[in-house]
Amino acid sequence: MNFTPAGYSLLPVLPEIVLAVGAMALLMLGAYRGQRATPLVVALAVVLLALTGVLEICLPAGKHVTFGGSFIVDNYARFLKVLALIGSAATLLLSLEFLGHESRRIFEYAILILISTAGMMVLISAGDLIMLYLGLELMSLALYVVAASNRDNVKSTEAGLKYFVLGALSSGMLLYGMSLIYGFTGTVSFAGVAAAAKAGSIGVAFGIVFLLAGLCFKVSAVPFHMWTPDVYEGAPTPVTAFFASAPKVAAMAVFVRVVLSAFPNVMHEWQQIVVFVAIASMALGSFAAIGQRNIKRLMAYSSIGHMGFALVGLAAGTAEGAQGVVLYLAIYVAMTLGSFAVIITMKRNGQAVEQISDFAGLSRTNPVLAFFFAMLLFSLAGVPPLAGFFAKFYVFIAAIKAGLFTLSVVGVLCSVVGAFYYLNIIKVMYFDEPAGAVDPMRIELRTVLAIAGIFNLLFFVYPGPLVSAATAAAKSLF
């Protein structure tokens, strides 16, 4: 809170530097070795992400502030950065199959993901509005390109274009909000804004509205979600998996950090926005998904709904709520990556199938796959004792303790409606006539699915480490 210039040490930024430099080195490698090097580049990119994660963990404990307070490394940042790195690395693994095709040997894909990840890390550590914007754009620009990476596919390019145009609009709103906030508080640092922002100032309220609109766009919260289903459906499936995991973590992380550390005095204002957005997202995510026939579109609405649930924890505005959000993100990433491992593997005769009806009778043709997917779906629906239940449990507990009863009740009801479409897929897999066996599952997909599945299944047995890490992360925000 109390802002003291702590010099310009580069140590806290070391992981980001390593990641950025590594990404450029891999770019060189690819540029000189050509598209043949794609598998190598991807493998090295995964190693690089792992190395970055290790570095992040090995940074000296405690809170480090650098670049004049605009870059913060604390437990919160560490936890979410590691989570984002895991998401990115897993996405790269999920992409191997996509990139394996002769026509799609594009090593730049991995580089773009690395750059996007670097943007996320900056975003998560942002300590002022400028750094926030920098990280957000670094992340997003790479994402626009990645969405359109399947250049010859109309849908993919359409997805990239839509995302870009709407993203630009949201960035405009974000910047407008920032300038309003700067105008009314005279500072861009979160700590300074926190000190200057007064409750009841309409200018600050406007600024918050625009700022949060931009952030809501990134986490695809209603009503700034419209791009999500189209982009999820149009983008190549591994890219969709990426969209659904790491960037969501980063955007939600900065969302939480901004409102909690920059606007603690105007909580009344932002809480209303968050409550509204949370309810709208949960409701839309639950209701709209029912009508979907395409599994990727369904996952899009699912992620909208899940972001709504995560925002319930934020709406509480307490350390407990922040802990709920952090836990929710961790579990959400595991569930999403596991589910996408299944979706990516759904191919018949080399042809990807993405309709829900294509899952018919999977329990008889691929019983293990069906079991893991069913379990992930149960987890997404929030059925105990799977991890997804605890994710919802923590955010709702926080909301109830904060007195947000209406929000909690609405949220629980939405999760009931939402359970329907998850259970519907399980019903299709277990009770419908088989639609034929799917192609064998690749080893890296198996690995991701197994880890995600076992995490979901056994989280309740030994939740201690993750929960205490989340608690520590949340504490560092207050």
Partner: protein
């Protein structure tokens, strides 16, 4: 010892039940589907072979499947345990009745909830001892008889388990120390009765009869439970001692019942009596008893003649201290008893199913017992209960023997001349009939005459009505009983084929007949003084509270009145002889000359039809209404179905917003921001 008497049948029931379950498993190891197919197979069989019957037969299934392993063991265990129980009961009877060793054994605390403290106790006084003897004796004989009678049925372990379960529940009922425990036994016998009536569950008619018995008894039990609540409300206890002690203080008190300030004791007794009416098949709630004959005949003998149906009589006797304080309730008891005695006898006149005749006779005799109860001569009623158990069980088991001999033919029009074929059964049935009609010196003679005398001297607004009805019924009883004997055993055989094949039943079945025949003759005279004479004070002591002086006055009635029942009996006999031996065309002519009366009686005073119109159809209509409109339309429509339909509507509309046009998406975002801004600008989101 009393614990052994009560719990040995339970032990037998559990063991036989386990054998039955094991047998069912062995037959259908793979579970449901096979069981289903098997059930259907039976169904078809039953339909095919008995399609010509209008009312279902006491029918055995061809031994298409062998009985389960352990059937013999189940029979042996239950029967042996019941005989032990019966032997101990007679010892108890002597101990309690003559040596005056009343027992009150505390078993365990049962319910402890606030003011409601109920202990599980076994209370044995003379009243209970009489019932113990009746129940265990008849039950053990019926067990023995069933070994022979049921020998073709593959489900015998289940049958014996039910029989023993019934016996346990009945013993629980008669040994209870409080109303709640009594109610437990009461419902337990109801359950066993339901299970046994529906024992041949492949027959739709048996299922229907079982349900009917259960539902009609619910009506009575509803009143009974209200009565128990009323007792608890008034006295704060359900314990008999406490109730009887507190009851005299309640005279003149009123309670508010449906806005009507009723006399507390009268209302309570009427409610309790409503339970008795159901269980003992009294007028208005009698309709289930004839249908209950769908069950196997030994069941009819045990449950629907000798024991369970007398539970209502027992209950009134047990609560005699209450009823003595409620003369209006007593009057009602007398009214219902007299009506039933007459009404059931009239129906019995024209029935053709051998078991139904005996069933209506049972109904009528229960009416006699209630007349005695209404008169305040409780021990006399119990006397008739005691003797009736013997001769009515005998008649049922004898009918069973006839049915067995005739290969499950139950229509007496198809019988005739059987006395040469099955002489032992014939003799037994004649003895039973003599006892039932009150032939001098048989058991029924003493008890029935005592009832008619008690009705004559009773201080009761309906005393004369009761007297008149019972006297007329005595004549009718004699007529229909002898009609049964003549049509079954005398005259020419009507079904030559069955007649030729008729044969005497095995020894298993004849022994119980012999024992019961002996009882039907001997159960009267030795006990006359104890139940209806000067020995009452000594014998019953505190267990029943007699109307003062009634016994004394019974001994001083005019001789004409004393002989009247016997005269009526002779008249009935002569008419029956005339109709069915001397001039067999007379009844046909009579029936054709009075078709209305004949139809009226044949259709059992149209009670079933009446109840169908008044209760069954409205209930079904209400059920259908609530199902279709209430549940289907309102609850499903606005509940699950409606909600899910609305969810789909919402989904459709939301998905429609997702047009795919970029400018729509941008528009939505801007609208969102504009909405939030507006919200804050106009102060709604402000302080």
């Amino acid at each position: 010892m009393i614990q052994a008497i009560v719990f040995l049948p339970l032990l037998g029931a559990i063991l036989a039940g386990l054998i039955a379950i094991a047998g069912a498993h062995a037959r259908n190891p793979s579970g449901d589907t096979v069981e289903h197919a098997h059930g259907h197979g039976h169904d078809d069989h039953a339909h095919a072979s008995h399609a010509h019957d209008d009312h279902g037969h006491d029918d055995h299934h061809a031994p298409a499947e062998p009985p389960a392993a352990g059937t013999g063991a189940a029979e042996l265990i239950t029967t042996a345990l019941l005989f032990v129980s019966a032997a101990l009961s007679w010892i108890t009877f002597v101990n309690v009745g003559f040596l005056k060793q009343d027992l009150l054994v505390h078993v365990l605390p049962w319910i402890s909830s606030g003011d409601l403290q109920i202990a599980w106790s076994l209370r044995v006084d003379t009243l209970t001892a009489v019932m113990l003897v009746v129940v265990t004796t008849v039950s053990s004989l019926v067990h023995l008889y069933s070994v022979g009678y049921m020998d073709e049925d593959p489900h015998r372990p289940r049958f014996f388990a039910y029989l023993s379960l019934f016996t346990f529940a009945m013993l629980m009922l008669v040994t209870s120390d409080n109303l709640v425990q009594l109610f437990f036994g009461w419902e337990g016998v109801g359950l066993a009765s339901y299970l046994l009536i529906g024992f041949w569950y492949q027959k739709p008619s048996a299922n229907a009869a079982a349900i009917k018995a259960f539902v009609v008894n619910r009506v009575g039990d509803f009143g009974f439970s209200l009565g128990i609540f009323a007792v608890f409300m008034l006295i704060g206890s359900t314990d008999f001692e406490t109730i009887f002690h507190a009851a005299p203080g309640l005279t003149g008190k009123t309670i508010n019942f449906l806005g009507w300030h009723a006399d507390a004791l009268t209302l309570t007794c009427l409610l309790l009596f409503m339970g008795a009416m159901g269980k003992s098949a009294q007028f208005l709630l009698h309709t289930w008893l004839p249908d209950a004959m769908e069950g196997p005949t030994p069941v009819s003998a045990l449950i629907h003649a000798a024991t369970m149906v007398t539970a209502g009589v027992f209950m009134v006797a047990r609560l005699s201290p209450l009823f003595e304080l409620a003369p209006n309730a007593q009057a009602f008891v007398m009214l219902i008893g007299g009506t039933t005695a007459f009404f059931a006898a009239t129906i019995g006149l024209v029935q053709n199913d051998i078991k139904r005749i005996v069933a209506y006779s049972t109904c009528s005799q229960l009416g006699y017992m209630f007349v005695a109860m209404g008169a305040g001569a409780y021990s006399v009623g119990m006397f008739h209960l005691f003797t009736h158990a013997f001769f009515k069980a005998l008649l049922f088991l004898g009918s069973g023997s006839v049915i067995y001999a005739m290969h499950h033919e139950q229509d007496i029009r198809n019988m005739g001349g059987l006395k040469d074929k099955i002489p032992f059964t014939y003799v037994a049935m004649v003895i039973g009939t003599l006892a039932l009609t009150g032939f001098p010196l048989t058991a029924g003679y003493f008890s029935k005459d005592a009832i008619i005398e008690s009705a004559f001297v009773a201080q009761n607004p309906f005393a004369f009505y009761g007297f008149l009805m019972t006297v007329i019924a005595a004549c009718l009883t004699s007529f229909y009983s002898w009609r049964l004997i003549f049509k079954t055993f005398h005259g020419r055989p009507h079904d030559q084929h069955h007649y030729e094949a008729a044969h005497e039943a095995p020894l298993w079945m004849l022994v119980p007949l012999g024992v019961l025949a002996a009882g039907s003759i001997l159960a009267g005279f030795p006990f006359k003084e104890l139940f209806a004479g000067h020995g009452i004070e000594e014998f019953f002591r505190e267990s029943v509270k007699m109307h003062p002086h009634i016994i004394e006055e019974m001994h001083h009635i005019p001789a004409t009145i004393a002989y009247l029942p016997t005269v009526m009996m002779v008249v009935g006999f002569v008419v029956a002889w005339l109709f069915y031996i001397q001039r067999p065309y007379l009844p046909v002519e009579l029936a054709s000359q009075h078709p209305l009366l004949y139809k009226f009686l044949l259709n059992k005073w149209y009670f079933d039809e009446l109840y169908d119109v008044i209760f069954v159809r409205p209930a079904k209509w209400l059920g259908r209404f609530l199902w279709k409109k209430g549940d289907g339309f309102v609850i499903d429509g606005f509940g699950p179905d409606g909600v899910s339909a609305r969810v789909l509507d919402v989904t459709r509309n939301v998905v429609r917003l997702q047009t795919g046009y970029l400018y729509h998406y941008a528009f939505v975002m801007l609208i969102g921001v504009a909405g939030l801004i507006t919200w804050f600008m106009f102060g709604l989101g402000g302080q």
